[in-house]
Amino acid sequence: MSIWGKVAVAGVYEHPRRYAPDKTAYQLHAESARGALADAGLEIGDVDGLFTSGVGPIGILSLAQHLNLRPDYLDSQAIGGSSFVSHCLHAAAAIEAGLCSVALVTYGSTAASERFAIGTGGGGVGDPADHFETPFGPTIVGAYALCAQRHMHEYGTTSEQLAEIAVTMRKHAMLNPHAKYRDPITVDDVLASRMISSPLHLLDCCMISDGGGALVLTSSERARDLRKPVAVILGGAEAVRHHGIGTRDLLDVAARQSGPLAMARAGVSHADIDLCMVYDSYTITVLLTLEALGFCGPGEGGAFCGGGRLALGGDLPTNTDGGGLSSNHPGMRGIFLVIEAVRQLRGERGAAQVDGAEIALVHGTGGMLGQRHSGVTLVLGKA
């Protein structure tokens, strides 16, 4: 028995604020939940499944209390920024299995107003391997920089090619009134921005913002009777990569496993994908993810991401909201990937609309590429 096609995203909400020192993270969760339920045309009392990550050690219990929810099903899958993409996958299984009927996924963070150093902070997670890494000063951006340097060495990828990804995301952000950064940038601007961890410059890196978002999922059948056009989960898969026995391969990305599996489950091929929403913590993340998903061959990502291919109007419009590089990045961006994919499939994006968008691929990365990381792929389709 397959779950694919039987569960839909019925409501989405992206909190418009990028800086919210007057709000708490819980408040952003709650306001986002209100927005997504209103979008779906459902009430808080309809929610019987709760999915969240990142509000403290027993965060989902704290959030249930904050929202006065007593759901029948709880899932606080915490695998980094991809967690919320994973929540959709798990919610699809739970709803189809009858464990819950209306799943609420929420996210909220005040990373910017708390001045939390994410990318240039340590990134240690307290696991055994940390003690063989943190004494040497790894940062999160450093982990991605190690991958970028290796890709450049093996395949001749250039800083200009990476910079073009940042330029494309900025062009998309210029069409998004809520995006944090909306001034045009050029490849030269990216290359002239200060080096954070070579070869990654400041403008190769996502920002730190505040933010929140929420999703409401239910059966496709029920979703068809709700307020908004339905975006159905056609397929999905998740995967993990790490150092294994110590032979770490910095270019082996979890998307290589989750991508083909999700697409096979959805019964789609690369040519069927109208747009991609991939986690853009750094420019190199986009390149490595699209390669691993099989949109181009190993090593071809630099050329593939150039020439306007990822821009609106290109062959594979990617991160049409401006991404974490230019729109928002409160620390764990996965939920916004799903939100924008759904808005595109509904045809709600106005000037940033991908013409005829019927199938969207979402890929969230959590943790750090080249280190311990997760990858979750979802294929969403217009009903």
């Binding site: 000063g137 940062t139 190690l146 026995i245």
Partner: protein, 136 residues
């Protein structure tokens, strides 16, 4: 102890043998006594076959740079004083890759594939860190 210090590793039952050897300026990797798969970092149970039989293999201390990044921003104490510093992954002759710092050469001169050898940084009486420098 006026100099801010790097974070030190926590030494536990699975890793004590490794850290005690490093204090003696000896670098070891583990090899499974049953399936002979080598592993790093050290752990008690072989992840390939789940055997607890472990042999410690003395490493030559020689390797090559697998990847690196010149870190220009890290405000953590113990690192902000060293900026820019080179974070690297070195592939040992014994086949495993480990995270380290490259010292003894200008950050601009580091290249992937560069031959390197271990250099010891004695941090405390209990903790030494294996760093690497270019090999002549």
């Amino acid at each position: 102890m006026s100099e801010p210090r790097r974070p030190l590793p926590r030494i536990d039952e699975e890793t004590r043998g490794y850290w005690e050897a490093v204090v003696r300026h000896e670098l070891f990797v583990q090899e499974c006594g049953a399936c002979r798969v080598r592993r790093f970092p050290p752990r008690a149970v072989c992840p390939a076959c789940l055997s607890s039989s472990t042999t410690w293999i003395r490493a030559s201390g020689r390797g090559t740079v697998y990847s690196f990044t010149v870190t220009h921003q890290n405000q953590a104490p113990g690192f902000r004083e060293r900026l820019p510093y080179v974070l690297a992954v070195v592939e040992l002759e014994e086949g495993v890759r480990l995270m380290t710092n490259l010292v003894g050469c200008a950050p601009d001169a580091v290249r992937i594939g560069m031959a390197v050898e271990v250099e010891w940084e004695d941090v405390t009486p209990e903790v030494t860190l294996p760093l690497f420098r270019p090999r002549p």
